[in-house]
Symmetry: C2
Subunit: 446 residues, 2 copies
């Protein structure tokens, strides 16, 4: 299942359109913008993520000889067109919001300016990359807002949609404030801190639960977290208390226990009491099992003494909103603004910029979606140049820098967005000159 960045990770219609553009020599500059048409009802804001992988894709885009041979073998393409793909590269410019930027409906997070065939071919994979990480960063940010000061870890690989999703979910959730992931390969690839406890199978493979605890702890150089809900959670907590002094003599410290089933809040209270009475006040309690921002908020609101959470399935699949209405639309071709007018799917034409106003204390006061201006506008322009002539303008941004940006953005959100229960949408105005351009285009025949 090696997938890397194949140029064939695209929809067939991109290639049939490219064949048309090739035949018609339609090679003028096209401007496409990528944005989310509508936020899911469960989301008050989104967090842009995935730009690094998108730029990597654009920089490395090419058709291998094997891919060209296969395309020729389908009988769908002219020999002339297939031959032209040997030299196909992405040579365009990209402007984008930096990863970690909060954004809203209709706001472009990425603009591609390139010869039409290049800008067209990349649609499918650009959306694929930016959609998923944005989806997960946005979900993870909500979890982080619901669990201030708690240790959050991505547990989702097994029910992520494939391996790439598992890896990219680890990255996106780390950007959004998670402490790390259980996915080992994400540690090696991205340098994300990895976390792990133990599974029920280790307990089951031993005849006695206390033997499983002792042997597991003794085999780890440090950082031991024991899973205590395989049979009877409170009984297991007592076993941990009994075991701790013996392990301490051997130089092993139990760092935490994990509870994965049953009434988590009630178990956590009982376990905290048992641990504290046993002198294990420093042992943290970690919760897992079908968690999301809502369950975590409820657990913490009830006073359940959890120090951290593993969040898996509902994070990596963003279960309550598993997709975003993210699209990539032609806004200008050969110097002329363009507009799609399909019912319910009309777009704002032209090259656009998002200008964000802030209050004196730095909070976001509202955005304006306008045309890229030749003169200064009120508010900070959010899209910046990131690629020229097919080459990145900056080296990849360190993950810690993006994490810092997310923290600052979340802190600057209006208060009702930070509670995950926004009653009213964040204000995004449409600039008058953009409305005027739209009206002009609508008067033209097609």
């Amino acid at each position: 299942m090696t997938i890397a960045h194949s140029a064939l990770l695209t929809d067939l219609y991109q290639l049939t359109m490219l064949q048309t553009y090739h035949a018609e020599r339609m090679n003028e500059t096209a401007v496409f913008e990528l944005f989310v048409r509508r936020l899911p009802p469960q989301r008050g804001f989104l967090v842009a993520a995935g730009l690094e992988q998108a730029l990597d894709y654009l920089e490395n885009l090419h058709f291998t000889a094997e891919e060209r041979d296969w395309l020729a073998s389908t009988g769908r393409f002219s020999a002339d067109f297939v031959a032209s793909l040997a030299d196909f590269r992405f040579t365009g410019a990209v402007q984008a919001m930096p990863e970690g930027t909060a954004f809203f409906a209709d706001e472009p997070i990425l603009r591609v300016i390139a010869p039409l065939p290049q800008a067209q071919l990349v649609e499918s994979r650009l959306i694929n990359l930016l959609h998923y990480q944005t989806l997960i960063a946005s979900k993870a940010a909500r979890c982080a807002l619901a669990a201030p000061g708690r240790l959050l870890v991505d547990f989702g690989l097994r029910r992520a949609h494939g391996a790439e999703a598992g890896l990219l979910a680890a990255r996106a959730s780390y950007l959004a404030g998670f402490a790390g992931t259980a996915t080992v390969l994400a540690g090696m690839r991205f340098g994300i801190p990895i976390f792990g406890t133990m599974a029920h199978s280790l307990v089951q493979a031993h005849d006695r639960e206390e033997d499983a605890f002792e042997r597991f702890a003794a085999a780890q150089p440090g950082n031991v977290t024991l899973l205590i809900d395989t049979y009877d959670t409170e009984a297991a907590a007592h076993k941990v208390v009994n075991l701790a002094p013996r392990l301490r003599e051997r130089g092993v410290t139990i760092r935490g226990v994990r509870i994965d089933s049953g009434d988590l809040a009630e178990h956590a209270r009982q376990v905290r009491r048992i641990l504290d009475e046993g002198g294990l006040n420093d042992v943290i309690i970690f919760g897992s099992g079908d968690l999301d921002e809502h369950r975590i908020r409820d657990l913490l609101a009830s006073g359940a003494p959890f120090d951290g959470f593993g969040i898996g399935t509902r994070l990596d699949a963003s279960t309550d909103a598993p997709t975003l209405d993210m699209v990539y639309k032609l806004q200008e071709y050969a110097g002329q603004p363009r507009r799609k007018r399909s019912e319910g799917k009309a777009t704002w034409p032209g090259r656009k910029q998002v200008y964000r106003r802030t209050t004196a204390d730095g909070s976001f006061a509202g955005d304006c979606l306008g045309l890229v201006a030749q003169y200064p506008q009120p508010g900070e322009p959010l899209l910046i140049p990131v690629m020229e002539q097919g080459r990145r303008l900056q080296p990849p941004e360190p993950l810690d820098a993006i994490r810092g940006r997310v923290r600052a953005q979340l802190a600057a959100l209006p208060a009702d967005l930070r509670t995950n229960e926004a009653a009213r949408p964040y204000p995004v105005d449409i600039a008058p000159e953009l409305r005027e351009l739209t009206a002009q285009l609508d008067r033209k025949p097609h």
Copy 2:
């Protein structure tokens, strides 16, 4: 983003447990079974898929030198343990339901029998591979049941969760009865038929819609489908009628039109009338735009004259049920049956088989979940040997054979399951000897 089948595509706790097993020389035979605990309320049955990729993973599993060096660098593992990973291979046996088999809650679709460390490490990626394709094959089967005789095409790459999801969704939906996919790489990798039309951007890039249609059609050797909803759907249908004779003179036939927005049923009726009045009775109408089995059923029930559908986002993300409660649990270790008793998550112990009874006409009459029997049982046993000593027993099954199995399985489902609206669950009995074994284990202390 090359991911292939890295041994590090696993959760950290698998490796920390392996270190324990290594230290304790716990290398006896373990039996794990993979099953879905509960069906989502929106699903009356599931379709097993992904076995081919799972077996490929097991056959090729190993730690590269780079991976071992990285593990050593984390400081979490003993040098002795990391060195032992150089020879790590999967040498076990696997029994499984063939891909395309319909199955239900608690029924194992795959069993791994291997030395404990091997059987443990593979949990995360085995679930990851079997979960996603089973999820999508099950969703796609519902779409196929809702659209008998219609051409269904997977359009979902862009909003699939990463590239691997896009590719595996193409495979899983093809197995379940789709005609093919728009994802080009799935055509090259899996030999799945690829389909494509055109995008709005091609229309927008031309000043006149009819020019876009004519140039696009002229550049395709055949198989032209025109997208007609960029501006005014019915006006575009008239343009198609006007264009057809001119194209016919040039040897180009229009095969179909696609409608992607607005009131699809009403547009399809109008467009059908316009095409028919224009003599284009053979031109098919293809629908797309946030479709799923419910919308398709409603469209067809209303008499909307659609000949086919492109199904994207809601298929590749299985939007109404984006995950399954699929788990992989230890059922036996060192010859002793094992059972997890966590609240709400208890498992049936031991090596199990699913026996399916059929009526005289071949319809499924009910399943029995029992222990692997030493003597014949009523019903057909669904799990069969697929791997011994780490090697496949059969070559990969051709996709067409799996497609045939799905067709036969869907035809044999009870009628209310075929309508996608099962009022009562399919009957799965628990064999008395399995209940007895469970009760025995529960009497043992831990």
